[in-house]
Symmetry: C3
Subunit: 398 residues, 3 copies
């Protein structure tokens, strides 16, 4: 895009340099890339998400939540279709009282009139207080953040930009909700003040088990090459200590891990393996047996090119499908995640598994609401107000 | 639909058995079919609708209403287009403070990705607190209710399902608002504490006239065969004592009453007649002269098949059109209803009749808002809170 | 449109007669045409817009604003696409707590069913409390206002109609926000209680400069012939004393001022000039040098007919484009306005001018929100409540 040309020099900077621009005193101004989600920030966001979730169960808590950002208006600018992410953000806004507005048609009337994309974004920023955007264009959200930086420097009106999925590249809020689900699951102790903690029980069988995302083995299965959620989550997890990753995918060029992610993981020094079946072994043990968290994904047929369509159609997908037998090998506490939607024809997770207590994918979807609400609270610097609301409602905050 | 197969055995059960599953202690969990609307339940719903309507006229009442369900989020899943029903539900939600979300495009991005319909519904139930749905698929809403029952049994998250029109079959909330309009009209005494009641005045001319929907003659005119509103309303009315029904339609196979409804009415023992003109007589008297309530409908051309199109186009519709002369024959209190939209080309109700005091069809539309709001209050078990709000605002509840 | 025929005799009345019908005791019942915006009314609306804008910066003020019309529901009926006006109205509604509903598809399901347009409007008026409409049909909003007058006379439910742009003819709320921007800019003294006012400073260079829209030269540039915003704003400005207007457009039949506006301006006695370049002179002085307010517009290619397309494509547009050099000639205080979107290919305002302090077009867009909110407050007779809210929040109202 021609109009992005003025930001070209900014786009090629290092991740560190960019992330520095998108924050101030450790608080995000914009969420553009998963690499901004550091363990410290995630801890804050997950704590806020918990407060929101618990307040929402209480009538007075609910009222306080709806008051938190009731003076703000959100623009959901989703020119790349997405039902799930869109609705999840809508619900998150509604929980916090934000007014929602949407533009979903890529052909707005203004574009017909040859308005530049940057003028459209600046129009949105005139009317609304945050722009949540999903676009087919990889760097669009990033460029919008630069536009806002420019305006801020000129002391003009500027608003936070949230990347809700850009092209085939990044999906940072999916990584956020995945991490929130992982943190919640590996919390073990939740709601267990009096009785012996679940972690202690589990330690009888798994002596080295610890709380939190560290020291765990994460297995990703399916469309590793094109799964932006895999890329985003793996990037975030690689920051935690003692994390191992196993990637399970067909040995087809477009489905195996791409070289960029492989190099990135190597640079972080994370211990990772690539295999071609859920029944594979590494270090002489079945991968499912050593998995602490299984992240299933869908083969993204809609991204098949004409060249590869036939080849991919001929792949035997059986080694990449979950089954009651394979679930049987998993550790008793290992959550099964899926960014959803799942493919009802391929059946990478058959519905028969839905009632297994380890099937966390519907809860994971619901967590998206709390995690995204927590992000909005953070962007509007309302974490303290949230905490005060929680104290008021429950008297003794946790 | 393949994925409905697991519910097949449930679909073929008796109406009584189904209705039992969709309620608990007499309160609806889901509204799927008009047959769930018993006189007892309708009395409750109409009373709530009245409280909502009266509160909405008062600033403080309005505020209390908006607080009633402000902690809830609704999904309006309308894959069969409908402006009127959709907007009426939106308004009902807004009156009660519910946040609204919508999916109206039958091709959501998730379906492109081969997500099963049941996964879509379960996603909605993850984010939202009630699913109001209109679909071209007859049993879809019913199957969704079964899915929710399943989840409830597993102690997983489950939400109420509201059928806002399914295929050509059922339209229970239209029957609800029609009944609310009938109950309001045949209340006669409304707002008349001090002066002699309108009922007493009317009894000088109509000595046997009583309050309420019982002991009345209801005349349905137009597209009897394909009118799901006719089917739903007739089903509900057949539960009241002393009700007579007259069905006026062209003598074409697709326009006359279908055999299924005919059998159903026979089984209830209701007294009904089928005639082919508004000028017909039964029992030696003109039907309009003995009608207490006239329910006009539109000939639904959009449902014509290629075979019947020509035949139906050739029917002389004059005997099924209202005119000032025909309205002149109606009893002075008899309401004229129409589920709307009316056909401006055919003109089954010419606009010249709109200013007649018996023309209730615009008020009927507005009643849809109050009646649907009352349904939502009922589904969320907030009827008591509504009553308390009313008492608080007006001090002395009626 | 056939169904408009009953209003034909009303449509041909004088502007004065119409405007009288659309108000009561000086307060608008409907906003249909820019000619309803008298200086007296604009003063009221601009004052309300200011109160809203200032309240919105304060948490408690925000809360009070959201309470102001929280009991009202708006229908945004936009069958002519418009992102900007639509979003601006949405934001205005949200600021005041109004619930928003929208119909944007010209083919609603009801029209397929041959519902008359007047029935659709009356349905909207059954559910909602104001209808904000934008249509390709010139007189549609006006006819809707007549329908509401009819209903009012029959003591039936009637709601305000707001014309948000009708055909190529009128765009009164754009004129309103343009005037609000002009009034704000020519206020000079805003927020300057203690220090010497900006007006006094400016008077050293411009001794005859006064506050307010009067005694100023307004230059309109671009698509004068087809710009309904130009037509609406010029009509409003012609009511102020000592106003001069300069119209700059290519000398093509469809782009120069149309005869109707020329006659209208002549009748008001306003002093106006038509020239063919931003570098032209009138009265021996460059037009930009004597301009107090520059109103740029886009050449509306989408309205080109096949006949004129080629001719218009061949016009040298350079004399009608702003440049740093031309901006340099403008008075130091002269605001540059543009109704937006601007054409990024033609570049009537290059982005390099955006950081000039006289570039007011983004602020102008944001003013649209406050001005439209002020209109809603006026239509619902809530100006007093707004004033009380302001007094409560800031104790000492200005």
């Amino acid at each position: 895009m021609q109009e992005f040309s003025e930001f070209e020099s900014l786009l090629s900077r290092s991740v560190q340099e960019k992330n520095l621009e998108f924050q101030r005193h450790g608080r995000l101004k914009h969420l553009i890339a998963a690499s901004q989600l550091t363990p410290e920030l995630l801890e804050k966001l997950c704590r806020s998400a918990d407060l929101i979730r618990r307040l929402s169960r209480n009538p007075e808590g609910n009222r306080r939540l709806r008051d938190l950002l009731a003076h703000k208006r959100a623009m959901l600018y989703f020119t790349q279709p997405s039902t799930r992410t869109f609705l999840s953000f809508m619900a998150a806004c509604q929980i916090l009282g934000l007014s929602c507005n949407e533009v979903r048609d890529p052909k707005t009337s203004s574009e017909v009139k040859r308005e530049s994309r940057m003028d459209s974004i600046r129009m949105f920023s005139s009317y609304f207080d945050v722009i949540i955007m999903r676009s087919q264009i990889s760097n669009f959200a990033e460029c919008c953040a630069y536009l806002m930086s420019d305006l801020e420097r000129q002391e003009r009106r500027s608003v936070p930009i949230v990347n809700a999925g850009a092209g085939s590249d990044e999906h940072p809020t999916q990584a956020l909700l995945d991490m929130y689900t992982i943190v919640r699951t590996f919390d073990f102790d939740e709601n267990s003040e009096s009785r012996p903690s679940r972690l202690n029980e589990l330690r009888r069988s798994f002596p080295s088990l610890t709380c939190g995302p560290s020291q765990k083995t994460y297995t990703f299965c399916g469309d590793i090459g094109r799964g932006r959620t895999v890329r985003s989550l793996a990037t975030v997890l690689s920051q935690y200590e003692g994390v191992r990753m196993i990637f399970v995918s067909p040995e087809h060029d477009v489905l195996v891990m791409d070289e960029e992610l492989r190099q990135r993981l190597k640079m972080t020094g994370v211990d990772f393996y690539e295999v071609n079946s859920l029944d594979s072994e590494v270090n002489g043990e079945s991968i499912l047996g050593q998995t602490d968290c299984l992240y299933m994904t869908r083969i993204q047929r809609e991204h098949n090119s004409k060249d590869t369509e036939q080849e991919i159609a001929e792949i035997d997908l059986n080694p990449f499908l979950l089954s009651p037998e394979r679930v049987g090998v998993l550790k008793s506490y290992a959550p099964i995640l899926h960014p959803f939607p799942r493919d009802s024809v391929v059946g990478e997770i058959p519905t028969s598994i839905d009632s297994d207590p380890r099937a966390m994918y519907f809860r994971q979807a619901r967590n998206g609401m709390w995690a995204r609400a927590a992000l909005l609270v953070h962007l509007f610097d309302a974490a303290d107000s949230l905490f005060f609301a929680f104290s008021d409602v429950f008297r003794s905050p946790n």
